[in-house]
């Protein structure tokens, strides 16, 4: 629905209400503070965005599907606290739902197996397909059923073509990939992220980009904000680069935090009656 970004749910329900979204997100961060320190919260976001991309690659899904899943993941945690919902489960569920929304099929069984495969911790990966099915419902509800996501890749290619910046496409592409390790997708419209990525790519090659940007008829202040926001990711590489030991440390922390919940859920599952009668949710939403 490229023709209609301004009428999209992406714009109307999320970007236009970015202040509201951020107020909730800040409240969630505060709620998490007693359990996860700020840098841990940040690491979790980066690690699990990365894990979504890795899972997508393993299933040979397009970058686009991973990008949609990452937006789902970030929208979910803008409204929910990490201490209540395990990122180790939300990440694969986000990809599972994104694959459906992007007209691909990814079996729950496979995404769970692949998650278990790349999972690094002292304990085995604790979730099964049942959890994926449960959380698919919670995720789609948290997204308020807004499933179509616009991404900056296509506009970036288009702008480069229009301006004959053919050499900048491959330079801007990884900048867009890195933008998904931040909250840029929650904050800014994709077409502006696209322009910012081209601007950064050109500037890094000592090209004069100002004239081009001025001709774009956009809010230059907002563009400057985005450029600043994306550039900051590179100022402190640890924000977007995570190492194995860091991942393992985070996963062990998540394991110790969620262990009792999982245990309760599993004993609940074992008692689950065969059908029709109403089983309890296997993972209780802490609301």
């Amino acid at each position: 629905m490229a023709a209609n970004f301004w009428n999209s749910t992406h714009y109307r329900h999320w970007l236009r209400k970015v202040d509201e979204v951020y107020k909730q997100a800040d409240a969630m961060m505060k709620k998490d503070q007693s359990t996860f320190k700020e840098d841990e919260q940040n690491n979790i976001k980066v690690i699990y965005s990365q894990i979504i991309s890795t899972l997508a690659m393993k299933s040979k899904l397009r970058q686009r599907v991973a990008a949609t899943a990452i937006v789902y993941y970030r929208r979910f945690f803008a409204r929910n606290a990490v201490r209540d919902h395990d990122p180790r489960l939300i990440a694969p569920v986000a990809l599972y739902l994104a694959a459906k929304a992007e007209e691909h099929t990814l079996a729950a069984k496979i995404v769970v197996a692949q998650m278990a495969d790349i999972y690094q911790a002292d304990h085995p990966y604790p979730y099964s397909v049942i959890h994926v099915y449960d959380y698919e419902f919670k995720l789609i509800a948290a997204l308020e059923f807004d499933l179509i996501i616009y991404h900056p890749y296509r506009p970036m290619i288009q702008y480069c073509a229009d301006a004959s910046f053919h050499d900048l496409v491959t330079a801007a592409w990884p900048i867009l990939n890195d933008s998904y390790k931040s909250d840029a997708c929650l904050r800014y419209p994709p077409y502006l992220i696209a322009i910012a990525s081209i601007y950064i790519a050109g500037t890094l090659r000592d090209r004069e980009m100002t004239n081009w940007v001025k001709k774009m008829n956009i809010d230059l202040q907002e563009l400057a904000d985005i450029i600043q926001y994306l550039s900051a990711l590179y100022a402190n590489p640890s924000i977007i680069r995570t190492s194995g030991p860091q991942v393992e440390r985070i996963n062990n922390k998540l394991q110790s935090h969620f262990a009792t919940k999982i245990q309760n859920a599993q004993s609940g599952l074992a008692k689950k009656p065969p059908s029709s009668s109403r089983p309890k949710m296997s993972l209780k939403l802490a609301e």
């Binding site: 629905m1 209609n4 009428n7 749910t9 929304a101 729950a108 509800a141 499933l147 179509i148």
Partner: protein
């Protein structure tokens, strides 16, 4: 806000009865419990499509996802309104709640298809319906969506339960096969080999084209236009069953039915046809003269209506008229002019109400059963009779069986 997560479906909608049994689940008529208008006189209804998930497959049905994701983005007077989505986490059921439409074209056409006393649909109604369908489809196509399953049962029309200026309006429904077509991730045929009921399926698809274009929707609209005029499907082919590996067999009878009415296409008229897989076979068949005018007598051969029909039933998808151009066709500026209300008189609904089957305690489990236990849950049973409609026939036509013809 779109929905309230805390509320259960039984608190918002009271089931009245069953109105459809689709491929993916059941459709119920229900009453809106919360009267948003604040006007207690105005009762409003919804259609609730229940998707079974889990047992049948892998989580939420992809069809439900497709309908939700597209309808959340769409808003148009001629597209069905998705007013709510409800989840029942315990039952793993998902309910799509639509604004209620009293009729669909399948049932309206059947009202006119009465052999002993044929009453053609008034030209004003035909034209208004066609114009509204084209408006809705033009909107979809502008938003890069192909519907892919246009047929009379998927085109709903509102009745007298609506305010006067919203009656007799087309609501295009069933987005279960609709696709965003802007650079699809892969050829659309990969996922679901067979789409569009064969009677309304465009010739390029029948001949094995792999890629869908907007033009397939316009072919289907052409077929529906003819059917509105004559009260009879135009190309009634016999569907060949899918068997074994061949998920999409050559529907030769359907192509034959088209050739017999429109004549066999020539390569000069449709150059692209030579690239289609089944053309080598079909081109050897006998040629027939075009007898379309004879089949659609309600449209005189030189009339603008007939001209528009031939442009919709153009063989070559590249030359077939677009929705946007069809709306500019002289047919719509001539009398009788199309209107937003397709009924001749907005206060008289000549069609019979949608049949509502009482709930079956064995099959309609979950939310739907709250109707039979009405009184509990703070729900009241439906006491108000359906709005009065003036029947078209002195004796109501026999209740038809909604047989599922040619479904995917």
């Amino acid at each position: 806000m779109f929905f309230n997560r805390k509320q259960r479906i039984s608190e918002k909608y009271a089931p009245v009865g069953k109105i459809g049994e689709g491929t993916y689940g059941l459709v119920y008529k229900a009453r809106n419990i919360q009267n948003q208008s604040g006007n207690s006189e105005a009762e409003s209804f919804v259609a609730v499509k229940k998707f079974k998930s889990f047992k049948s497959g892998d989580g939420i049905s992809p069809t439900a996802i497709r309908e939700i994701k597209l309808l959340r983005e769409l808003k148009n007077p001629y597209i069905v309104d998705l007013v709510d989505v409800m989840l029942d986490e315990a039952d793993k059921a998902l309910y799509l709640v639509f604004d209620y439409a009293e009729h669909d074209l399948l049932e309206m056409i059947r009202c006119h298809h009465n052999r002993s006393a044929p009453h053609a649909m008034p030209m004003h109604t035909v034209k208004s319906l066609l114009w509204q369908i084209l408006h809705g489809i033009n909107y979809l196509h502008k938003n890069w969506i192909i519907h892919r399953d246009l047929k009379p049962s998927n085109i709903l029309v509102t009745g007298l339960d609506k305010p006067p200026n919203e009656r007799g309006c087309v609501k295009i429904a069933d987005f279960g096969l609709a696709r965003l077509f802007q650079s699809p991730l892969r050829p659309l045929t990969d996922v679901d080999a067979v789409v569009v009921t064969i009677w309304y399926r465009a010739p390029e698809l029948l001949l094995g084209a792999k890629h869908y274009t907007k033009a397939i929707d316009l072919w289907a609209i052409g077929c529906i236009f003819a059917e509105l005029v004559t009260s009879k499907p135009l190309f009634q082919g016999q569907e060949k069953e899918r068997k074994g590996d061949d998920r999409n067999p050559f529907q030769s009878d359907q192509i034959d039915k088209i050739f017999r009415i429109l004549g066999k296409p020539s390569v000069e008229r449709w150059p692209g046809v030579i690239d289609l897989p089944h053309w080598s076979q079909a081109q050897t068949w006998q040629n027939y003269p075009c007898i379309l005018h004879d089949r659609v007598r309600g449209l005189a051969k030189g009339s603008s209506g007939y001209d528009l029909l031939t442009k919709l039933l153009e063989y070559d998808p590249d030359k077939r008229i677009t929705a946007e151009d069809a709306l500019k066709h002289p047919f719509f500026t001539e009398e009788p002019r199309p209107t937003h209300i397709a009924f001749v008189d907005p206060n008289i609904d000549p069609y019979k109400s949608r049949p509502v089957t009482p709930l079956d305690p064995k099959k309609d489990i979950g939310w739907a059963m709250s109707a039979t236990t009405s009184g509990t849950n703070g729900q009241t049973p439906m006491t108000r009779p359906m709005p009065q409609s003036a029947p078209l026939f002195s004796s109501a036509p026999p209740p038809f069986k909604r047989t599922r013809i040619n479904d995917r």
